[in-house]
Amino acid sequence: MAPPNRTARVAVLASSVQRSRSDRHPSRARSAAVRRTVLVLLVLLALALLTISFRSPTSGALHDVQGYGASALRPFQVAADRVARPFRDAYNYVDGLTSAKAENAKLRAELKTWHELALANLAASKQNGTFKRMLHYEGGPTFPSGYRAVNASVISFPSGPFDNQLAISAGSHSGIVAYAPVVDAYGNLIGHVASAGPTTSRVMLISDPESAFAAVDLTTKVTGLVRDGQGNTLILDRVPKEASVRQGDVIVTEGTRNALYPDIYPYGVPVGQVISVGTSDIASFLTVQVAPFAQLGSLDSVAVLVRKP
């Protein structure tokens, strides 16, 4: 029995009158069932797509469909990029002005150093050509003369910490194949083609945790394995503690050392500059931190290196 101060409405709520489950709110029960069915179907479909895509990331019917889908979306992405470009250019212009003076002084000092180096390199290069002719030296494809550059614009950028890949606006129709090296406008290494669609390709950046490649210190000829590092840096790994690597040394790709296991990158593609060298008593190798030459976070266009026949 309900207490006297309770309202009639609450009394109804508290009543023990039972209704059958089926006719209580049939439309709402149906709506809940439809809602849950839709969710389960969509989740299962997403899992199925994920499984197929994960098992065959570079080939297969789904990969082809995705390639054509990306091609169909490209005009919309280009249109969006054109709308945003004036704003981005304005921001970059203002940002550039704030640091222009300091950058100018730094670049003048660098220009002097590079000019001296270029003259020395020119002399060495001529001498090298003479030696090669005398020795009848047979070399593999070299960078950049052994490759044709396919220039492409970047149509999608890394979206966050999970993503270190780009989509570019050229694919297999332009001769691009998986594992082709990719460089920026100055010839600095960016990464390689992870998969190629008909008119678009996916590029894995050298900052991707799954990327690792052999590289060499141009000054000391010390070799190591370049992989991703903290922040926007790379690590030259597997460098023995007794090896000599100095701050400021230039790191380039090592290329193929064993013909049985060809490297995807040719010899001599610039990677970056050593910014710090450290070690500890318990470490087996040096910790060599490398700043990449390429601005991996702000790429507008890239060049894919396709090997000349």
Partner: protein
């Protein structure tokens, strides 16, 4: 939910996905990236409920995965769950609450980031939790800044449904 409403929601999510992939992914502030697609999905889900939220999340995710040439279904999976959950919140507790879009955006940004982290981890792909956590607060702040204008635009295009059209769990008798 009419066909016109469905088309409007699809158009909104399509535009948001293209803008996100082409423009917003380049905006990195203190390690965070604004996500206009997630914010648009939250607004659509709040105004149109679970089924539209889940379906919208699935197809918007598919668009993103296709445009980025990433693993198909990865973003779809997380956005489907996000759309469903926000839709449910909009149908029940969150309806008619002024703070609902902001609360939803903040919570779903966190859940979406952890969801992506979990899926990448399960797939054996790189899942840098430290980098994700460092960028989380800036991402929440930027998404909250986007929430008000995006919700206003979506609400203008998709007028809120009558209360009778919304699914509810609680029904008073008598």
């Amino acid at each position: 939910m009419t066909i016109a409403d469905g088309l409007k929601a699809a158009a909104l999510l399509f535009v948001a996905a293209i803008v996100q992939v082409s423009i917003f992914t380049q905006v990195h502030v203190f390690g965070g990236v604004p996500d206009v697609l997630l914010v648009t999905l939250v607004a659509v889900s709040l105004l149109r409920g679970t089924i539209v939220g889940a379906s919208g999340g699935f197809f918007a995710g598919l668009l993103v995965d296709t445009a980025r040439l990433g693993e198909l279904g990865l973003t779809s999976l997380v956005l489907t769950l996000a759309g469903y959950w926000i839709g449910r919140y909009g149908e029940t507790t969150g309806r008619d609450r002024a703070h609902a879009p902001f609360l939803s955006v903040a919570v779903v940004t966190v859940l979406y980031s952890f969801g992506l982290l979990l899926v990448h981890f399960v797939l054996g792909e790189p899942a840098p939790a430290g980098a994700m956590l460092r960028g989380l607060v800036p991402s929440i702040v930027m998404n909250l800044v986007l929430a008000a204008p995006v919700y206003a635009v979506v609400r203008r295009l998709l007028r809120p449904l009558e209360r009778a059209d919304l699914a509810t769990e609680v029904q008073l008798l008598g």
